[in-house]
Amino acid sequence: MKGRGLHVYAICYLLFLYAPILLLPIFAFNSGTVIAFPLKGVTTQWFVQMFENASMRKALFNSLTIAISASVFATCLGVFAARASTRFEFPGKGPIMGLIMLPLVLPEIIVSISLLVVLLSIGVQLNILTVILGHTLICMPYATVILSTAFNSLDRSLEEAAYDLGETRWSAFRLVILPLVMPGIISSLLMSFTISLDEFIIAFFLAGNEPTLPTYIFSQLRFPKQIPMIMALGTMLVLMSIILLTIAEYFRRRGIAKTGAKDTGGFL
């Protein structure tokens, strides 16, 4: 039977990919204070401890503020970029789109350090606004890719029909195009939100004294006593990411079905 060996290999590979994530809840509910086998008993005390922790709540609040703002900004910018690149030809299109997609491959340390140096030298106070600035930049390429797929599968004759029926350019966009790409927009918002929520390097350098969830986790990793609580926090974060991604995937597929295109799968 062709592909049997490959099938087994692929499943082993998935196990390797998921191994760390599967361990997370095991230790989050384990009553032992040391992260090791054998397991002790089942407890929810780490979750209780987590929710009672004031600095954790502050970090959570900061992270949510940053993620919501960055995902909205990145998606707005992404709508412009995706619409321009899928509908119009203009001089310098290749290099311009390349520049917009560049944060995807640029090491984050370079992005964050260079932005940090500039912000410090013009005397900007580091706070969550500066993190939003950075996160919007790194989310923008992802938003652009997702939205380009949505805009690309649009049938241009629908837009032309709207013009023929007397709609202006703006009202045609609002009444015809926007509803059709809406699933793509929701998908882009959710993806950007997830990226921002989990992002560490930029938040680490640009947040000043404001903690975000990842930087809070990083600061607590030095204290062995805090590790079980961090495992509980990690479980929550991973769960949140998976739920958001599943919703994003649902909307992406619905968007493709809506415009009648064939599903090619994947985000890239």
Binding site: A36, V105, P107
Partner: protein, 289 residues
């Protein structure tokens, strides 16, 4: 039609202006600032506006920089090799074996771990490989070993495992896309002309998949070089990579010109290596289906 074209470009440019200005302002301008800083002199806590090549001389002649740079390059190269070799069969499986209706589900399953917190995944490898970690305590409970294995953590191998795990989906997606583009009738032609299945793979499938492999290698190699978290956590801070060095020069030592020269040098090396890599694979990239 000429006016139509002009208004087309005008509309396109108007639309692209907001994201373009954002990228210019928040990314390009800071990168140029770093480039400018790298040619300036360092005063104590300030930057003296005077042109010098001293920073580059210092960076290029420093044996510590050379060691760390070589370590970053070899770790990144090893991670790229491991990731791409491990990912290729999975991408092949997805493209050739999985039924079309189930491909999206498989891709989704593979990308999920990638979207979950990078920091937590790296930390979990520390938990797995650590002195009192999952592997050691598990093996001890089973009675396989008496003493914990010390060689699992705080070395280059553990960094390679962690990074290869972190970048796995990055490698699968481009290879999968390249494999999907292959015209299946070419493979049938290969078989019909008497090639064995292995030879068809070697002479038809692999060359046609090379653009994906090259893209995968670059997508893994470039960010791995600049990785900060893994050396800090898994390497225990004792085996820094170039990102950790840039950070300590820029912030802890507050020598921005030298830190900038280091960053620019690192980017140059990565760019040159990437170009060489693409040039070496030119033969494959020219093939268009």
């Amino acid at each position: 039609m000429a006016t139509g074209n002009r208004s087309q470009s005008a509309q396109g440019l108007t639309l692209i202006a907001p994201p373009l200005s954002y990228a210019l302002l928040v990314m390009a301008a800071p990168l140029l600032t770093i480039l400018a800083y790298s040619f300036l002199k360092d005063g104590y806590l300030t930057v003296i506006r005077e042109f010098t090549l001293e920073n580059y001389r210092a960076v290029w002649s420093d044996p510590i920089v050379r060691t760390i740079m070589l370590r970053s390059l070899s770790v990144a190269a090893l991670v790229t090799l491991v990731t791409v070799v491990l990912a290729f069969p999975v991408a092949y499986f997805l493209s050739f074996v999985v039924a079309p209706g189930r491909k999206a589900m498989w891709l989704f399953l593979i990308t999920i771990p990638f979207w979950t917190s990078y920091l937590i995944r790296v930390f979990l490898w520390k938990v797995i490989l650590g002195y009192n970690g999952v592997v050691n305590s598990g093996l001890k409970t089973l009675g396989v070993i008496e003493q914990p294995l010390g060689f699992l953590l705080y070395n280059v191998n553990s960094m390679v495992i962690t990074l290869a795990h972190a970048y796995a989906p990055f490698a699968i997606l481009p290879i999968f896309i390249a494999l999907e583009k292959i015209d299946r009738s070419l493979l049938e032609a290969g078989r019909d002309l008497g090639e064995s299945r292995a030879m068809t793979f070697w002479r038809v499938t692999l060359p046609l998949a090379m653009p994906g492999v090259v893209a995968a290698a670059l997508i893994v190699f470039i960010p791995t070089i600049g990785d900060y978290v893994t050396p800090a956590l898994i390497g225990g801070g004792k085996i820094p990579m170039i990102a950790n060095m840039i950070q300590s020069q820029m912030l802890d030592l507050d020598n921005r010109p030298l830190g900038s020269a280091l960053a620019v040098t690192a980017m140059l090396i990565v760019a040159v290596l990437s170009l060489i890599f693409v040039a070496l694979n030119r033969r494959f990239l020219k093939v268009r289906q």
